[in-house]
Amino acid sequence: MRIYVCVKQVPDTSGVVAVNPDGTLNRASMQTIINPDDLSAMEQALVLKDATGCQVTAVTMGPPPAEGMLRELLAMGADDAVLISAREFGGSDTFATSQIISAAINHLGVGKDDMIFCGRQAIDGDTAQVGPQIAEKLNLPQVSYAAEIEKVGNDVTVKRMLEDGYMKIKVQTPCLITCISDKEKKARYMTLNGINHCYEKPFTLLNFEALKDEPLIELDKIGLKGSPTNIFKSFTPPVKGVGVMLEGADKKTAETLANILLEKHVI
């Protein structure tokens, strides 16, 4: 049994977010972190590894420095890592990205007992699209928004969160599951021995050459040019003005405030 865990290195948007004059993100000035939901997916995979001894493979697509993140995951306990990296893949939207990642996973092979875990969504794009799209391309059943995953034989039971509750869903391997973060189930730390040996663990680089003949890759649908969606404009919202003191303290004041909040979609 092997669990592929798809992870993404993202800018840390909880800190200061720097924006270039043209409205694009100044990525170079920002710290990168492992996407929180992906970290949760890795933890869920490592819990299953603790119980079953299965193989856990960390997979990412990104520029060469993303190797550092993969090494951290190896230091946490993943067995091997795969970096999908090529200039041709840059600028891919979710459709193109999922095509490339599914081709890479297909290249590595999905066995009857295998699973693919993704984070529900990444904090840079918040799309939650790549997981389900990989599942579609690989023709696997998917369960998204997973809070708990249990596996008995080939049966996997997932607690799938809804806004107003949850579903219990049974699915069989091979399948794809996207995981949500849970404060109660914090991802484990790297260990010092993990760090000492993370550069000795198997590490695979899949570049354009390695994937271009994969059947799942349509060469005209990858990268910035091939992506179905394009950024037409990006911009920053107007800066927050100075505060407004509302007049009075009566019913009318309260209504004025409520209308402003309604207008701003706060309520």
Binding site: Y189, L192, N193
Partner: protein, 381 residues
């Protein structure tokens, strides 16, 4: 000269910082107030392998050397000085056993200390033997019939002493020979005749536990002697050299954090219609704090790399400890001053950091004794 860290060392720094932020900082104020040693923090350190730094994997350790110790202690000290001290001082015992122990001793004791979750302690100081280590009065008398040493005496101010599972204890095996009559022993918690006395109430570092240790006819197998008979003083001095680098790392970490807090505060605090960061008086404080801290860091890292390359570092250890300690007090004092009344309140961690920083000028050798060590090294070539 290249001070750049390896990728693994950078990862260790990241892990240490994350651990300090998520596990140590949240309880730092609480353990200080309650004067509580957080066993749970030490267990977590052991689980991740911090307690095995500097010891090879074959003994349950996690490898690395002085630099790795410095990195972890520095990062811990930013968020909780008491926990940084606990780790730094714990490591003295396994490092002494690794350097001077027999293979049997290493096999028997190192895994317990490196990954077994047992705390280590180092017991040299006595009521009348502080800076003057030669004043040790604890005796160890050999009993031929049982092949044991019988220890009698009292140790004081021993960090972690009351909880430690394995301790390195110094005693006179030849009382007339003074320093040339000191031997080192590996003592286990629970050995008959060994007990802990008073737990000290301290000005700072309240989340680490400082104990008095009492030996009353404590019988220790001769096999537990660490190193050769009457050669214990060298073990003590060598251990102290390494320990001092650890204190330097504590002083550096707390200073770095204090600067960060001070800088943040100067931008938030508005007086006379502008942030106090705009005041030159404040800027000069910050400049002094940053410059001295950077110097402390350079000295500390140079010393650590000397130690890791196997070169002598006694003088440098004394220098970096002394400098980083004085700087820690200097910087925490100014950072507190910049915070004004808020700095004096327990809502901000600075008053704790200030109290904690003070110890670095005292333990593992006072500032004054360090000057003696440095002067001796410089003048008596």
């Amino acid at each position: 000269m290249d001070f750049s860290l390896t990728k693994e060392q950078e990862m260790l720094r990241k892990l240490s910082a994350q651990f300090a932020l998520e596990e140590l900082e949240p309880i730092a104020a609480q353990i200080d107030e309650e004067h509580r040693f957080p066993v749970e923090s030490f267990e977590k350190m052991a689980k991740l392998g911090f307690t095995g730094i500097g010891v090879p994997e074959q003994y349950g350790g996690t490898g690395g050397g002085m630099l790795e110790k410095v990195i972890a202690v520095e990062e811990f000290a930013k968020k909780c000085m008491a926990s940084a001290a606990t780790l730094s001082i714990h490591l003295i015992a396994p490092h002494a056993i690794l350097a001077f122990g027999t293979e049997e001793q290493k096999q028997k004791y190192l895994p317990r200390l490196t990954k077994g979750g047992e705390l280590g302690a180092f017991a040299l100081t006595e009521p009348n033997a502080g800076s003057d280590a030669a004043g040790v009065k604890t005796t160890a008398v050999y009993d031929e019939k049982t092949d044991e040493y019988i220890l009698n005496g009292t140790k004081c101010f021993i960090t972690g002493g009351a909880r430690a599972g394995v301790l390195v204890v110094f005693a006179l095996t030849d009382p007339k020979a003074k320093t040339k009559g000191i031997s080192a022993f590996i003592i286990e918690k629970g050995m008959p005749g060994f007990s802990s006395g008073k737990i000290e109430s301290k000005m700072g570092l309240a989340g680490s536990e400082t104990a008095e240790l009492v030996f009353e006819d404590c019988r220790v197998p001769a096999a537990n002697m660490l190193g050769k008979i009457n050669k214990g003083f060298k073990i003590a001095m060598q251990s102290l050299d390494a320990a001092r680098v650890g204190v330097g790392a504590q002083g550096l970490g707390v200073a770095e954090e204090a600067i960060e807090m001070a800088v943040k505060y100067t931008h938030e605090r508005v007086q006379f219609g502008k942030p106090i960061a705009a005041l030159q008086g404040i800027q000069w404080y910050i400049a002094d704090m940053a410059m001295k801290t950077e110097a402390a860091k350079a000295l500390l890292y140079m010393t650590a790399s000397l130690a890791d390359s196997g070169k002598p570092f006694t003088k440098e250890a004394a220098m970096c400890k002394l400098f980083a300690a004085e700087n820690a007090r200097f910087v925490t004092n100014l950072a507190l001053q910049i915070h004004g009344g808020y700095g004096y309140m327990k809502d901000y961690p600075l008053e704790r950091m200030y109290r904690d920083a003070k110890i670095t000028e005292i333990y593992e050798g006072t500032s004054e004794i360090h000057k003696v060590v440095i002067a001796r090294a410089v003048m008596n070539k």
